[in-house]
């Protein structure tokens, strides 16, 4: 189940507008470019540490059997993100 666009973002930050694309809505095999991070605190730091800075290309590789988390290819490393975290990453198709 994908969270609807109007759902409040866990952990603060502003709610993405309906037209804004977040990483959790990227389908398997698609590529996206990071525009901004909405997450705060230690999760924001972690995301930056793994290289999710503005302009980074991310490929959606694979959903786990239960649908969440999803594996992404980020700067050559395969990293799994839960939907609650990836819904805070604003992206655009590239």
């Amino acid at each position: 189940m994908r969270p609807s666009a109007k759902q409040p973002v866990p952990g603060g930050g502003f709610c993405p507008l309906p037209q804004e694309l977040t990483l959790d809505r990227i389908h398997q095999g698609e590529m996206a470019r990071v525009r901004a991070l909405n997450s705060t605190g230690s999760m924001r730091r972690r995301l930056l540490d793994i290289g999710l800075v503005e302009g980074t290309n991310v490929e959606c590789l694979q959903r786990s059997p239960a649908g969440d988390p999803v594996a992404y290819l980020i700067r050559g490393a395969v990293i799994a993100l839960r939907a609650e975290d990836s819904s805070n990453i604003l992206v655009e198709y590239c």
Partner: protein
């Protein structure tokens, strides 16, 4: 992983930065690196010391030290915890950063994984911000070659401004060259000119404003540029450690405090708050890492090849993933349980034979029956039984678990199960520590360190006790194999023991 005097009691407390030198010309080398890049392998190959080698992630508890000699110069190697960054988001990162900053190492060797070098550069660049005496060891060169990744070490060294050595620590390749470079750097023969990261002009301006005052106060004890940046981006833990190390508080110094205030105001004028400054610093490091690797690393097919993709599609498939995982778990248990029966039988037979001889001896020596009962039937037989029952399954289970770890399957298990564990407010890695609990709860609990969130880690630590370890579930199966009466009870070995007494 025995309970030694060092691992329990007051010895278990992290002694932090204390290094005992036996002679003044010993050189202290810090070994830093991301988790799972073979840092401990490098450490063990160099020191010959077998500290607990890595069967699972996150096992360098505190600063492990070892000694080695190269070209007649003695070195103390300090294995600091594996981290991705030095920004101190976790206890490990704090230990690593504190040792590099305040442990006064003569050089820092940063061990990298050649198969994903760009990701490793984050730590290299951050280390270079703190100290200039850095040697980069690009490990796992053999694996990179197999994956079709070519690393141009000279180019990388040029880009970074510090020596870079390629190595394959598992086969011992490249380590002599590494120590040659370490020797040159520590002796001052090889001058390191680490390329500094250029932050945004506004940030650079703020640093420039602050640096002269800081530099005047510090002398050459710490890198003033790095300290200036940290002053702008106040980290409480760092504040304390730095004040303790320097014996003075930079924050309370009136001149510096004034400069900090000025610099912060000028940053705010450009709409850069403290949080935004942190973001800028991290982004600049990452972009610089990309830049450094761009012309030094050539990926044939990329680190994550088409073949890897295919395997992962199957292992984490919606329908096949979980059954495959259960099957693998059953196979591991089957091998462990049936395999352990034979050595267990032998050990029981052998140790009990010795017990009988002990009994005979005490009888011959005229010892009273109660003493004989307490010593032989009590102490000796319980010990013999525990060894016979617990040792063989552990000796089989853990190597099998290591194989799974080396194959990289364990993170896939965590990935497959994360959602189910999340329902219990835990995370996927919890599954791995539980699996390890089947081998030994002590090892399982130690392994809980791989879980980042303190809350999830606590849940994993407590619930690990409910996983029946080998010693608790193996005996009933054994009795079944021997064709005797089966009693499926969690206290199998206790009952087994009393039956044994009756037989004699």
């Amino acid at each position: 992983m025995g309970l030694t005097a060092n691992s329990t009691g007051s010895g278990a407390v992290d002694r932090g930065l204390h290094i005992e030198k036996t002679s003044p010309d010993e050189r202290v080398i810090a070994l830093a690196g991301n988790p799972n890049v073979g840092k401990s392998t490098v450490f063990n190959e160099l020191t010959g010391l077998n500290q607990h080698t890595g069967n699972w992630p996150g096992k360098t508890v505190t600063n492990a030290q070892g000694r080695c000699t190269h070209n007649r110069i003695p070195y103390i190697l300090v294995d600091i915890p594996g981290t991705y960054s030095l920004m101190a988001h976790s206890a490990e990162e704090e230990v690593a950063r504190d040792f590099i900053c305040f442990g006064e190492p003569d050089a820092v060797v940063v061990v990298c994984d050649a198969t994903c070098l760009e990701r490793n550069m984050n730590l290299v660049l951050q280390t270079m911000e703190i100290t200039s005496r850095v040697v980069v060891c690009v490990n796992l060169m053999d694996e990179a070659k197999r994956k079709g990744i070519r690393v141009n070490l000279e180019q990388l060294s040029d880009n970074l401004g510090v020596p870079v050595v390629g190595a394959s620590a598992r086969s011992g390749k490249g380590l002599q060259e590494l120590m040659d470079e370490v020797e040159a750097v520590t002796a001052g023969r090889r001058e390191c000119r680490p390329s500094r990261i250029r932050y945004l002009p506004v940030v650079e301006e703020a640093i420039r404003r602050l640096e002269p005052a800081v530099s005047a106060r510090l002398g050459d004890r710490l890198n003033s540029r790095w300290v200036s940046l940290q002053l702008l981006d106040c980290e409480e833990t760092l504040k304390e450690t730095m004040t303790e190390y320097l014996g003075l508080s930079l924050w309370n110094d009136p001149v510096i405090a004034e400069k900090i205030k000025q610099a912060k105001t000028s940053l705010l004028e450009h709409d850069i708050s403290e949080d935004r400054l942190k973001d800028i610093v991290v982004s600049c490091v990452i972009l610089r890492a990309e830049e450094v690797c761009m012309d030094a690393v050539a990926c044939g097919q990329g680190g994550y090849s088409r073949w890897d993709r295919k395997i992962d599609r199957v292992l984490t498939n919606k329908w096949v993933g979980i059954p495959l995982m259960l099957l693998l778990l059953v196979v591991v248990f089957w091998i462990t349980i049936t395999g352990a029966n034979y050595p267990s039988e032998l050990l029981t037979g052998g140790l009990f034979w010795v017990g009988d001889r002990l009994s005979d001896f005490l009888g011959w020596a005229g010892a009273p029956a109660w003493l004989q009962g307490a010593l032989v039937d009590g102490v000796y037989r319980v010990l013999a039984w525990v060894v016979a029952v617990m040792l063989p399954p552990m000796a089989i289970f853990f190597p099998l678990f290591t194989l799974l770890e080396d194959s990289g399957y364990l993170p896939r298990i965590a990935f497959n199960l994360d959602k189910y564990f999340k329902k219990a407010c835990a995370c996927g890695k919890h599954a791995l520590t539980m699996c390890m609990g089947f081998g030994c709860n002590a090892a399982g609990i130690v392994g809980c360190r791989i879980i980042d969130s303190p809350r999830e880690r606590l849940i994993a630590t407590i619930t690990n006790n409910f996983v029946p370890c080998n010693g608790r579930f193996a005996p009933p199966y054994k009795r079944q194999q021997n064709g005797r009466r089966i009693r499926l009870s969690p206290y199998g070995h206790v009952r087994g023991k009393s039956e044994n007494w009756r037989r004699h």
